[in-house]
């Protein structure tokens, strides 16, 4: 009997890892990626929390495995239609090419929250307001760290929970990774700019993962990062283009204002554009958050509401790189069990 075949939709790290695992289990895997290369959002990331490991290194390892295991990769390819006949899926790519598969894995990932929607934070209006993703690109470019006005910032504020835990933008959920990303980027800024002072404005700091709490402590002990418990309510630009922000220091119980040379917004995660179109095609359920709904949130998190369709990574919920890779591995096992008819 010919090997069972699987089509993985989305070539971020979840799609890459699930493809590798399925391939080593002996299945025929085709990975479909809409961009011109695989790697997804991690392509634009410099270093990873909590170890400051180079993100490119992780991608390289995943790519090496894909090459060894002969995963078929289609780039510049977008799924435009899916039809299921009996137990077989017929997947149309770019309105033309048609493939068939015995199972599908949806690994369509996330989008970063568009910070312009929080107009009160001035992104896209004031030059010295950037996002965590912009800062990561700056780090990756390896150039001298200057703000968009060309000045080396001496005072920087980091705003947590931008687009997360916020009813005003319709995102009630926590994006999980921004807390520790803020701490990581604060440390990197402090290491790269002598004498800089970094303030983190937070509501809660959720250091849930391995090594996160230690990183937070290190930020305080070794890098003099200042943590202020209060949500920034609004910012404005001063005459010299620095940014004035308002918040309450809730521990002191008093409103505060502060001028900074650079404001960094920790943008959260939203359901991926790919998830939205795929979910309509495959008629998958979503949760209140808009992320894809698992058949069972505890016992079958990688199984969708539709038979033969599985899910991996941040299409299901916000996740760190580590959690995404682990989730992708568990998705591969769910597919394997499905093929082996193991309940």
């Amino acid at each position: 009997m010919a090997a069972k075949s699987v089509i993985v939709i989305g070539g971020g790290i979840a799609g890459m890892e699930v493809s590798n695992q399925l391939s080593s289990l002996g299945y025929e895997v085709r990975l479909i990626e809409k961009n011109d290369q695989v790697g997804g959002k991690l392509l634009n990331w410099d270093r990873l929390f909590p170890t400051f490991r180079n993100a490119g290194e992780v991608l390289q390892r995943l790519q090496q495995k894909m090459d060894q295991r002969e995963v078929i990769v289609d780039t510049n390819a977008e799924v435009t239609d899916v039809v299921k006949e009996k137990e077989t899926f017929f997947v149309t790519v770019n309105h033309s090419v048609k493939y068939h598969a015995d199972a599908l894995v949806v690994a369509t990932g996330f989008e970063l929250f568009n910070a312009q929607r929080k107009e009160e934070y001035g992104y896209g209006i004031y030059d010295n307001v950037i996002t965590s993703a912009d800062l990561e690109k700056l780090f990756k470019s390896g150039g001298k760290l200057t703000n968009p006005m060309g000045k080396v910032p001496q005072r920087i504020a980091i705003v947590h929970c931008v687009g997360s835990r916020d009813s005003k933008v319709g995102n009630h959920y926590c994006s999980k990774v921004c807390c520790v990303t803020g701490v990581k980027q604060a440390i990197e800024l402090q290491e790269q700019i002598p004498g800089v002072v970094v303030y983190c404005f937070y509501m809660d700091l959720r250091m849930y993962g391995e090594g996160f709490e230690e990183l937070y402590r290190r930020a305080q002990e070794q890098h003099n990062i200042q943590f202020i418990r209060g949500r920034v309510s609004e910012v404005s630009e001063t005459l010299d283009h620095s940014i004035q922000l308002k918040a309450e220091d809730t521990l002191a119980g008093r409103p505060l204002k502060m001028c900074v040379d650079l404001l960094v917004l920790m943008v959260g995660m939203e359901p991926g554009k790919g998830s939205v179109s795929v979910k309509n095609m495959l008629k998958l359920g979503t949760m209140d958050s808009g992320f894809l709904e698992p058949a069972d949130v505890h016992l079958s998190r990688n199984v969708s509401s539709s038979k033969g369709i599985f899910m991996a990574g941040t299409a299901i919920s916000p996740m760190s790189v580590n959690d995404t890779l682990e989730n992708a591995r568990s998705a591969a096992f769910e597919v394997h069990h499905y093929f082996q008819d193991i309940d």
């Binding site: 005003k168 949500r231 920034v232 309510s233 609004e234």
Partner: protein
């Protein structure tokens, strides 16, 4: 009995097992969003009154939640009802409505101090 000049000190602890929760119950019933505050302080940061005088709408709400309502009438009068707190609240709490309800509740309690339920 001989008076040695000592007197018993009122404890500072907030007693969560027994406090006057009539106003709290009224607020949560009339404006359920009052119960979901994160204490982020966005309201206080943007507050028109709080930036000028000693008025902290977040702390005031916190005090109501633990039954500390002694100076409430004087405090709540500092609110200018501009509504900016409601605009910034990430939990979408209708704080302006809460302020109006607090004012009503205070009047009701003053008129009838023994009332069981507002």
């Amino acid at each position: 009995m001989k008076n040695f000049g000592f007197k018993a000190i009122e404890p500072r602890t907030i007693d969560y097992s027994q406090f006057d929760d009539r106003l709290l119950a009224y607020l949560v019933r009339e404006e359920p969003s009052f119960g979901i505050c994160l204490s982020c302080g966005g309201c206080t940061a943007t507050c028109s009154a709080g930036n000028l005088v000693d008025f902290n709408i977040r702390r005031l709400s916190l005090h109501i939640r633990s039954g500390e309502i002694e100076n409430l009438a004087k405090e709540i009068d500092k609110c200018m009802l501009c509504g900016k707190c409601t605009l910034v609240c990430p939990r979408n709490i209708n704080l302006r409505q809460v302020v109006m309800l607090i004012k009503k509740g205070i009047v009701a309690l003053k008129e009838n101090p023994e009332i069981k339920e507002l």
